[in-house]
């Protein structure tokens, strides 16, 4: 019963059959991160190391898909952990740790976007990922670049909602919590973002680039 309550409160996505397993995972994960945060607040670097190992790629992907800039994404990932370290002592587990983590990440992302808009360097400073990371075929790199460009053109709220949905596989309720919006708005944002990107993919297919 305690387990079921915990799962429900964190809105874990699971069907009836896998329910107990998912429930245990969520419970362990929550307990693990709470323990790490307590240790981090005492200045234990090993706990922060573990937390970073677990979350750095997720954060980096989130930032990279939003900014298409390798160094900035690295920098924001690092800043997120810095904020986690500073706030670890005052952390109150009101929601899932990941909700808190991505709230911090999103705030940093918004600050970065504002900074970019102020200095108007978005086009000049954009950096593409090395070719070898996407494979050897130049055309694959091209369609990815086209999509990267398209995703940057989407409003931040639509893009973030879509990324949290696809990358983190969050429920609409969880996304709404991070974005301080209601579920219906989140659904609309995701739908709009998908429409834009899918139409771009359709164009690429029609041109024979995909």
């Amino acid at each position: 019963m305690q387990c079921a309550n915990l799962t429900l409160s964190y809105e874990a996505k699971a069907d009836v059959q896998s329910f107990p397993i998912v429930c245990i995972d969520v419970k362990n994960s929550v307990a693990e991160e709470l323990l790490w945060l307590e240790q981090i607040s005492k200045g234990e670097s090993q706990a922060l190391e573990r937390l970073m190992e677990k979350w750095e790629d997720s954060l980096y992907r989130f930032f990279y898909r939003s900014l298409s800039h390798h160094a900035d994404s690295q920098d924001l990932t690092q800043k997120t952990f810095l904020r986690v370290y500073k706030a670890a002592a005052s952390y109150v587990p009101k929601a899932k740790f990941s909700t808190w983590l991505f709230t911090i990440a999103r705030n940093l992302l918004i600050d970065e976007i504002k900074k970019r808009n102020r200095f108007k360097t978005s086009e000049v400073m954009e950096e593409t990922h090395p070719v070898e990371d996407f494979g050897d075929e130049a055309r694959i790199r091209d369609w990815r670049e086209i999509l990267e460009h398209s995703i940057r053109g989407i409003p931040e709220n639509q893009r973030t909602a879509l990324l949290l949905r696809v990358q983190q596989e969050w429920s609409y309720a969880e996304i709404a919590k991070v974005m301080k919006a209601n579920e219906q708005m989140v659904k609309t944002w995701i739908h709009r973002a998908r429409q834009v990107l899918k139409s771009k993919i359709n164009d690429l297919i029609a041109r024979g680039e995909l």
């Binding site: 996407f134 696809v166 596989e169």
Partner: protein
Amino acid sequence: MKTENKEDELLDDFLRAENLRNQRTVSANEIIALGKGSVRDKWSRRLQLFGPLAIAACVTLVFIFDFKEDAVQRSGGESLEETTLDLSEAGLLEDMMLLSPEINEFFAISEDSALEMLVMLEHKMK
């Protein structure tokens, strides 16, 4: 998450970007050092900003307090028992108290009356 068609699948693969990995440039120790440093910086910035303000506020308070005390003393706020006048001051005060009614009366009378008085005094002196 289930995908509906090819476009959705392509899009989700692209968004997940599972081939991307963070190439970490700082360790947990460095982040902790940065965190401690920024906390120290924050306090030193606060000290730099509020230190002079606090000193100025203290000086102002001391000045106001001192000024108030002085004003109370001047306005006779202190008791009569505490008031001590030396002999010369007491004599001066006595003279002033004696003189002031005469002066007041002198200035209170009209110019004609004053002239008449002067004439009478002259007459008497002769």
